[in-house]
Amino acid sequence: MDILKIIMIGLGTGFVSIALEASKEDLPINALLGSICFATYLYVFQISNNNMLATFLASFLISFLAIYLTRKRGKPLQIYLIAGIIPLLPGLNIFKMVFGFVNQDNTAIFENANLTIQILAIIVLSIVFASSITKLLKRLQFNIKKPES
């Protein structure tokens, strides 16, 4: 059942990528990134029951993959990153928060604002971590001298 969910999320990411006008050659990659992201989220959530940890690890993995693809294919990071994290975006929470404003429901406003900020901050933190680690690794790679034979 989870496999079907993962496939459908991948397809959905591919369709949304068309709405975001990604190029045709990137569509299968974007769909795959969406699937990997959701599969990671589901797996981590099932073993830890922690939404934030699952979001962090899923977007951390996607950030690494996006950085790798960016270097390999010479395109901006945003192209793969945005598509990859679509399944994690707290769109429903943003909506519920503002819907709370319309309905004058303070609990809904604070609860969802809190959750939205937490999820967005965790996604961005994971992106920053992934890019910092990649830069550090690259710098270390250049600093390590090859042993003389």
Partner: protein, 257 residues
């Protein structure tokens, strides 16, 4: 030099108009300014404007600015502009070719109007199933979002302010959802609404806003954050207004999240 600066700003303009972060636009503009007569270059980019100044060897400065009025997401254009700038920075193409290519990229239509409408609806169909909804729910959601998706694309084409277009999209989704709800009260509405909303709410805009803030551009981050909030507000006003009318005329509640 003037032509090079003009081309650099054109590249930056296309990037900014199609959803790029400001630090990347800054990088693209600086990368294009390769003329050996330039001894100093300074680029300021905020969410809706760019100012670039170059200082020449003879001491003369040249400043150009561009303002951006309308932004959207077009990932293909970002990728194409990056490739053109790379080619120019590595001396593979000349300035005339750059301008020609940038004009061509600017006027390119990646996908047809109807394909984008269809894919938005197919996206909600797939996400409904992905988030654990039923097949009936997914098909219902696909049908419900076709008309709002059509209007969203149409409003964008006609330059209707996104706040108004989101109000109307939210209202249309609510009207069709209420019709479906009355026809089949057993549908899983939370999952269906989640899948429709994920496409309409400005999650991507919010992430870009926070990335701008993390990169030290607080002005753009704050303005993009406001844009995301306004966009979500428009959507909620549309949904809330229709729900309120429905409750007013029929009594009771529709659903609670």
């Amino acid at each position: 030099m003037y032509e090079e600066l003009k081309a650099a700003l054109k590249a930056g303009e296309i990037m900014l108009r199609n959803g790029s972060e400001t630090f990347r636009v800054q990088y693209i503009i600086k990368k294009m300014l390769i003329n050996k007569n330039i001894i100093n270059k300074d680029v300021i980019v905020i969410g809706t404007a760019m100012i670039a100044t170059i200082e020449l060897k003879d001491g003369h400065p040249i400043t150009l600015s561009r303002s951006i009025t309308r932004r959207k997401n077009n990932l293909q254009k970002l990728s194409l502009v990056t490739r053109v700038v790379d080619d120019y920075a590595n001396n593979r193409i000349n300035l005339n070719e750059v301008m020609e290519k940038l004009e061509k990229i600017d006027n390119t239509t990646t996908y047809s109007f109807w394909l984008k409408v269809l894919c938005t609806s197919l996206g909600t169909f797939s996400f409904t199933l992905g988030y654990g909804g039923t097949l009936t729910g997914a098909i219902t959601m696909f049908l419900i979002t076709i008309i709002p998706a059509y209007f969203i694309q149409l409003f964008f084409k006609k330059n209707v302010p996104y706040f108004i277009s989101n109000i109307l999209a939210g209202a249309l989704i609510s009207i069709f959802s209420l019709i479906a709800f009355n026809l089949n009260p057993l549908l899983q509405y939370d999952k269906m609404i989640a899948s429709a909303i994920i496409i309409l709410t400005p999650g991507i805009m919010a992430v870009t806003a926070i990335r701008d803030v993390v990169n030290g551009d607080f002005i753009t981050g704050a303005s993009r954050g406001m844009e995301a909030l306004l966009s979500a507000t428009g959507l909620s006003i549309g949904v809330g207004f229709i729900f309120a009318l429905y409750v007013f005329f029929t009594g009771g509640t529709v659903w609670t999240f």
